[in-house]
Symmetry: C2
Subunit: 452 residues, 2 copies
């Protein structure tokens, strides 16, 4: 039977619309069991055996399995949870009412990560329609805590190793079609360390005139933060860069040969004239791939309402995240951060780890990597743009590799693009990206049925 | 007729309870006209001719006048507005349901400044009961914007100079009775400059992994703020201290002779072991009286909710206030701040003046000062503790002096103490402070009827 990609696309968009109506904000614990149930129902209706994998303190992950016609077992990873929507007033349509405008479907969670789940499921349904069974065995895990750093995923993997073993995994994927027509293949993601810095110097907020003789938590936090960064924007934490290893020749070459054409689009979305230090092209991509970060994700102290409040704040908080590169580890960076603050005299700044993830990557020469690249290039008719280490973090990789021994790839089965505003207001998916994602996924599942 | 102070106290507490039920938060525009009406009704019922003085963009100020038996005209100043209540969860009883616990009346606005208004009105009602008319002429202005810096007060004064002229004014007053039994007399208040620092570097919040190549508003704000202060806590704004004049011998002596016994109480309320630089006694009071401040009243950037959000914030804001001493002016300090930021390369930090007030003070040797001190000392049986320049700001002083030519004093007619938590959760008035405030006010109004 010939592939009717258009029909599969329409099916994927229906699934996507249905999933995006569920406000599954993991940071706020909103409707997570409800969304898990909905995902489980969809998978069961497509012939999967399903379960919900639960551990204390986390929402359920949906597990599913369907035996297929060949030896190969592929694990699919998705997450059903989404980012918070604030600031809500910057959305042009309600975040949980999927709205199509100008060829784009707007909804929180559309790009990150419900569209890929929808594409995969639509392709599965099409393959079943065509053959009555899947070409390969598919295992699927859809978790509900990715947007808060997958804090229970490792525990879930360890408790269910036998359900998750597979020959390979498709992680959350890359762009099905970059602006230059090339498919995107990702081999790994940076690690991360999330910390909260807290300073509390007074028992209660005081009138700001007291600042003349009483200590200020806000100033202490500002001073502690300022001590963490040099004037040129590098981390000033002693030893922070010691473990950073030089990229290999193959990694450098892959980055040099990557598509670079989304720079302008990203600049436009961000509203900036240039990237840091005026970087462009290969130099920009090298920085993005191989440099760690030291970011302030949130600052809170004193009065944040309208008008003036004359207050000396009792406390001040900063939410920070560090993106880590090989061979940095979150454990070591946390120790270096604490040692820095102690050394600089900031004993009154309390640091708490909120979450962490190791760097996770699959080597260039793994057979599954080669196969994904081959299928992606055949479908797109263009060389794959390969990313050895993407700037974000996918904390699920390390547990899957370490405990279940499953190597993975971020394949071009995800209808997203650089301007999709994941994590920001007006998150969306371009409808034109759904077709390429469908065609790749369909081809890969068929291809994996043949021994290499 | 003999003074029945107990009856006047009870009357004052009834008035206070009534006023504190009105949530007149000026920063949020809550029930300001309603509260003005209530205040006007109370004054009219006590025999005053009343008006509401209005200017565009501000809530009404209540004006009242009642002719008395002598030449002397006294202007009373109060404000009916209060501070915001957040963080609400730190209140032990609802902020607008006055609650008496352990000899204290808890309510937002109780100490700042509804209790003093209640005391003054209760004394007026008692004097009318006793004599049928007031011993002196009283003019009264009760404004509704003190807690947001009295932005329209100068305009109101200029438009109503003839209604406000008087021989002298009682500003918002000091403690009726300090812990050592001395009454507090204040001759002036620091000036103030309130500014907002804003940095906006991106069109929209972005995923925090982008921080590796895109600029961070939060870091820029932290760096700009850090540049404003030295390691020892002084302002690092070029020229900031140039206009600060040395206190006079009389000012120094007054500060040296001030009551100092509320130090421990203030430390306890603030929850600190010591004040800045370990200051105590005269040195602490000198710093508090004669040093300007550079305070961060609010910090806002990125995510402030529960859990983790991996965001590179598009913008960052700081609310700052500077308390100014003679002969600093808010205009000059604003220029110095802007020049500093330009000089240090922070052209991307936008500074906006939210409000400002000049230093306002009455000289030591003014006859009204001498009379207030004499009455206060007679009533208390102890020397007055005189404050030449209090650390907070009373922006109403400068307009009253400059436009209406009215010198003033912060007299001990205010039942407040150092631990009253003005501007903080659990603001309250100690019931034991009401009597001394009543007795002083009663005595002063009678005393002013006699030529000196």
């Amino acid at each position: 039977m010939a592939l009717d990609a258009g029909r599969i696309e329409r099916d994927a968009l229906e699934i996507l619309d249905q999933l995006c109506r569920l406000p599954s904000v993991s940071a706020e614990g909103r409707e997570l069991p409800e969304t898990a149930n909905e995902v489980e129902k969809l998978l069961a209706a497509a012939g999967f055996e399903t379960r919900q994998l639960e551990v204390d303190g986390g929402p359920p992950a949906v597990w599913a399995e369907q035996r297929g016609g060949s030896e190969f077992t592929l694990l699919l990873y998705n997450h059903y949870d989404v980012q918070p929507v604030d600031p809500l007033e910057l959305w042009d349509s309600p975040p949980f009412e999927p709205t199509v405008r100008d060829g784009k479907l707007y909804a929180r969670g559309s790009a990150d990560n419900k569209a890929e789940l929808a594409v995969r499921l639509a392709v599965v349904r099409a393959l079943l329609d065509e053959d009555g069974r899947l070409p390969i065995t598919i295992r699927w895990i859809v978790e509900g805590e990715e947007e808060v750093g997958s804090p229970h995923f490792e525990q879930i993997v360890r408790a269910n190793v036998d359900l998750l073993r597979a020959d390979a995994c498709l992680w959350e994927g890359g762009s099905a079609l970059l602006p230059d027509g090339r498919p995107e293949v990702g081999l790994g993601f940076k690690g991360a360390l999330f910390v909260k810095l807290a300073v509390r110097l007074l028992a209660t907020d005081a009138h700001s005139s007291i600042a003349v003789v009483a200590p200020s938590a806000a100033w202490r936090l500002v001073e502690a933060l300022a001590s963490l960064r040099t004037a040129d924007g590098r981390a000033r934490i002693g030893g922070f860069y010691d473990a950073v290893r030089e990229p290999t020749e193959a990694e450098r070459r892959a980055v040099a040969e990557q598509s670079g054409s989304d720079e302008e689009e990203l600049r436009e979305v961000l509203g900036i004239d240039s990237f840091l230090d005026g970087l462009t092209g290969t130099a920009l991509r090298e920085r993005a791939s191989f440099a760690p970060t030291c970011n302030i994700a949130g600052l809170t102290s004193g009065y944040a309402g309208p008008g003036v409040k004359t207050v000396l704040p009792a406390e001040a908080h900063a939410l920070m995240d560090f993106r880590l590169v090989p061979d940095q580890t979150p454990e070591e960076v946390f120790e270096l951060l604490q040692a820095h603050l102690r050394r600089e005299g900031f004993d009154d700044v309390e640091v708490t780890v909120l979450d962490s993830a190791h760097v996770g990557a699959t080597p260039f020469d793994h057979p599954f990597v080669r196969r994904v690249v081959r299928v992606a290039e055949a479908i797109a008719g263009a060389p794959a743009s390969i990313c050895p280490l993407a700037p974000p973090t996918l904390p699920i990789i390390d547990p899957l590799q370490r405990h279940a021994g499953v190597p993975g790839v971020a394949a071009p089965d995800n209808p997203v693009y650089a301007g999709c505003r994941a994590h920001a207001p007006n998150e969306h998916v371009r409808l034109e990206d759904v077709g390429p994602a469908v065609r790749f996924t369909y081809a890969l599942l068929r291809d994996l049925a043949d021994g290499e």
